[in-house]
């Protein structure tokens, strides 16, 4: 239905709808601003991603795997990026990259499974919630039905923060997804109960497949996507967007951050993949004219322990560094740099930014939504979005 027809349909109420604010509401949605989540699965080592190179405690805790002062890409008097993040430097200089320090939560859990569940559901440490935080947001304020899906997941089958609500599909490439979607042609319309639920999921799959492949307007990117696993994930995500569909959320996963041993080589390689992938993502979104309307945000179950272990690696930690990028992002450092002189009983860092404040920034500032109900409490948004 075109907007004009929609307004006509409203009849008498149409007059009211013609007032400027409401007329805009009929044609656009807060979800026109895209969120791209990047999961750094396994727990990225924030302390070697953003390095407090001048801190003597850092050098004492990491005699073998610490990043040397002359290697870091300095961004402030005390802090510098891991050298493998080189390609992110232009974004930093353009003030399109915000670095969020000390992101964590009280009573941190050190299990991968439990801690990512806490992050995904925006729960407290001892609370078990069935629904992801974005799923709750999709249920409270649903994205427009014209969207191909509320969220598309690339590079993982796990629903993560979209568990238990909204229209969410996972795909490794759009063509294969279309083939798979043919298996969901059951149809039918039960009135309620579990059959109706299954039919709805099937219809969400068909709807997404139709939108993704029905437009036939594959975008011809001049961006070169890196030849890596994550490079392919980024490429797939950009192809999805390039087909012209609307989405509220894309979630991409880069795995392998559980670096218990021989960390330096593995971690450097992962950060290179990340930085090059993000740079390509930016370039492709600029081609699509969507960079101003996109917020890219990293997350992970936890950071890693400050003191390196006996195997030149790091064990599970707590507070962590995260990245926010986008044309509308206000670049810079947020939160407090880690205090390595004051570690907890397990040798881990305290946090300075509750992770739900990051989510509140997405909900309130990016999507102009309420966040209290979605997050189960009031968390102050951060300044990286105006």
């Amino acid at each position: 239905m075109k907007r004009r027809e929609f307004l006509n349909c409203l009849g008498g109420a149409g007059l009211m709808a013609l007032t400027p604010g409401l007329a805009i509401a009929a044609g656009s949605s807060p979800y026109d601003r895209l969120l791209i989540l990047i999961e750094l699965k396994g727990g990225n080592d924030g302390l070697n991603s953003l390095v407090p190179f001048s801190d003597p405690d850092y050098r004492a805790l990491r005699p073998q795997i610490g990043i040397r002062r002359d290697e870091v890409l300095q961004i402030s008097e005390r802090m510098g990026f891991h050298p493998s993040l080189q390609t992110l430097m232009p974004l930093w200089q353009a003030k399109e990259l915000a670095v969020l320090q000390g992101v964590g939560y009280p009573k941190p859990n050190l299990s991968h499974f439990r801690s990512i569940e806490i992050w995904d559901t925006a729960s407290t440490s001892d609370q078990y919630l069935a629904q992801g935080w974005l799923a709750r947001s999709f249920v409270l304020s649903p994205p427009p039905a014209t969207f191909a899906a509320d969220a598309v997941i690339v590079g993982s089958q796990d629903m993560g923060p979209m568990t238990g609500g909204g229209r969410v599909v996972a795909l490794s490439n759009p063509q294969q997804f279309e083939r798979m979607a043919r298996l969901a042609e059951g149809g039918g319309a039960a009135r309620g109960g579990p059959l109706a639920y299954i039919q709805r999921v099937e219809s969400d799959i068909r709807h997404a497949a139709l939108k993704l492949n029905g437009l036939g307007t594959d975008f011809n990117f001049s961006t070169e996507f890196p030849q890596s696993g994550f490079g392919n994930t980024v490429k797939t995500a950009c192809q999805v967007l390039g087909s012209g569909v609307d989405l509220a959320v894309l979630r991409l996963t880069l795995s392998g951050f559980d670096t218990h041993q021989n960390q330096p080589g593995v971690h450097g390689n992962l950060l290179t993949q990340l930085a090059k992938g993000l740079t390509a993502l930016r370039s492709a979104l600029i081609e699509l004219n969507r960079w101003q309307q996109t917020l890219v945000l990293s997350y992970a179950e936890f950071g890693r322990r400050p003191r390196e272990n006996q195997s030149r690696g790091t064990d599970h930690g707590t507070a962590n560094v995260h990245f926010a990028l986008g044309g509308a992002v206000r670049g810079g450092l947020y939160g407090e740099s880690p205090n390595l002189a004051r570690l907890d009983g397990s040798g881990n860092m305290g946090f300075s930014v509750d992770y739900r404040s990051v989510y509140a920034t997405v909900l309130e500032r990016w999507w102009r939504q309420e966040s209290r109900q979605t997050l189960g409490g009031r968390f102050a948004p951060l300044g990286f979005i105006a």
């Binding site: 499974f113 238990g164 599909v169 298996l183």
Partner: protein, 416 residues
């Protein structure tokens, strides 16, 4: 008639009515399928034929008291205990690969027990073992040892249709549980409340039926339950036990762990919590609280004989009601084992089975958290649904049964 005789007559007549009719109506294939799908995994044609000739109550009796066989022991290497010290000494890559192989073996072992359960009664025992696995949750993710997980699984199977009172006491001191809920680090003077909290919230009373103070006091009573790290065996450590006075749910004294469990078992909420969960497992996603209270009372009066609760549930009107047919969403285990059983297909190899379980979203021996798999609609999202459908296609193509394609791809195939 003399009043006394009249009473005797009434008792006599009542007795006849309550005796099972000798020529009770055969329930037919549709009822048999419903019962077998809910009580076991899928419905084998021979079992459907056999049950179709019985009345509903006869069939329920056959499920509860019919013959079973012992589950074969798992491969020896799953039963080797490796202490944390031994694990630390191993090369990490080697250890990881070894563990992956063992975990696949462990899952394949249990799936084989379900697939090969020869009678409906043996199938019900496996379903109840799975039910208890999702009630008294422990996970390999924390326990690490396949030996301890096998032993817990065998414990759950031994008590699957037995007595909940005995099961609760036994599983609370089961080494995998002692590790999973941190009892091993719960000591006099430095209590760990994990087990005390979960035993009240999830295993017995349910939220809202105890106070934070009850948890604190109970945690002190549970001190001393521990394991021997080198062997993985349960060990009572009297010097770690707090002998002071405690008060739990109004009962005071020098309580030990077993005494606290008995206090929890004496509360009506405990039977209600278990019966409500059984209702969701066997009858429908919407509990009928009046029925649940009735059955819970019987359960407690029968000293927590789980067969009594199951008999009441499976003979209830609600279980057979039309609106509750095809009203439960199959779990991944239901789907996989049920499909192979019903269609009498050969199982894929261990590795494929293990992978299929993961893609459908149910890693046996590793529930997502202490609450277990939430079940119901949570089993189905776009990924897991497409995973079910492509598994259906692969199985049908492998066996050349493409005539069944439409049936297995229909949305209703996800229901039981």
């Amino acid at each position: 008639m003399h009043p006394a005789f009249r009473n005797i007559f009434i008792v006599f007549a009542f007795g006849i009515l309550s005796i099972e009719p000798v020529f009770a109506a055969a329930m037919g294939a549709a009822d048999a399928r419903h019962l077998l799908n809910r009580a076991g995994f899928g419905a084998r044609p021979a079992d459907v034929a056999g049950f179709a000739r019985l009345s509903r109550t006869e069939a329920v009796g056959r499920l509860l008291f019919g013959p079973t066989v012992d589950v074969p022991s798992p491969p020896d290497d799953l039963l080797e205990y490796q202490s944390p010290a031994m694990l630390r000494a191993q090369d990490k890559e080697v250890r990881k690969q070894e563990q992956r192989r063992r975990v696949i073996g462990l899952r394949a072992w249990w799936l084989a027990a379900m697939l090969k359960a020869p009678t409906p009664a043996a199938q019900l025992r496996e379903r109840m073992t799975l039910f208890w696995h999702n009630h008294f949750v422990s996970s390999l993710q924390k326990v690490r040892s396949t030996k301890l997980m096998v032993e817990q699984n065998q414990l759950l199977r031994r008590h699957a249709l037995g007595n909940f009172d005995e099961l609760l006491h036994a599983v609370s001191k089961d080494p995998a549980m002692v590790i999973y809920l941190d009892s091993a680090t719960n000591r006099k003077g430095s209590p760990n409340e994990n087990f005390a909290r979960e035993v009240m919230e999830l295993f017995t009373l349910g939220e809202g039926n105890y106070s934070e103070q009850d948890i604190k006091e109970a945690a002190r009573a549970f001190t001393g339950w521990s394991i021997e790290r080198d062997t993985g065996e349960y060990r009572w450590r009297p010097f770690a036990h707090d002998n002071g006075s405690k008060t739990v749910l109004g009962v005071s004294g020098n309580l030990d762990g077993d005494a606290v469990l008995d206090i929890l078992l004496a509360q009506p909420q405990t039977a209600e919590l278990v019966v409500r969960k059984l209702w969701r497992e066997f009858v429908s996603a919407t509990p009928n609280e009046q029925e649940i209270r009735r059955i819970a009372r019987r359960y407690r009066d029968a000293n927590y004989d789980t067969r009594v609760a199951l008999r009441e549930l499976l003979n209830s009107q609600a279980f057979w009601a039309t609106e509750n047919r095809l009203a439960l969403i199959k779990s991944p285990v239901d789907w996989i084992v049920g499909t192979l059983n019903t269609l009498e297909m050969e199982a894929p190899d261990s590795q494929r089975l293990s992978l299929a379980l993961r893609q459908l979203g149910q890693d046996l021996f590793a529930p997502p958290n202490v609450r277990g798999w939430p079940g119901g609609e949570a089993w189905i999202n776009s990924s897991t649904l497409l995973a079910r459908k492509s598994l259906a296609e692969r199985l049908l193509q492998r066996d050349g049964r493409t005539d069944l394609r439409e049936a297995l791809l229909d949305p209703s195939y996800q229901l039981k």
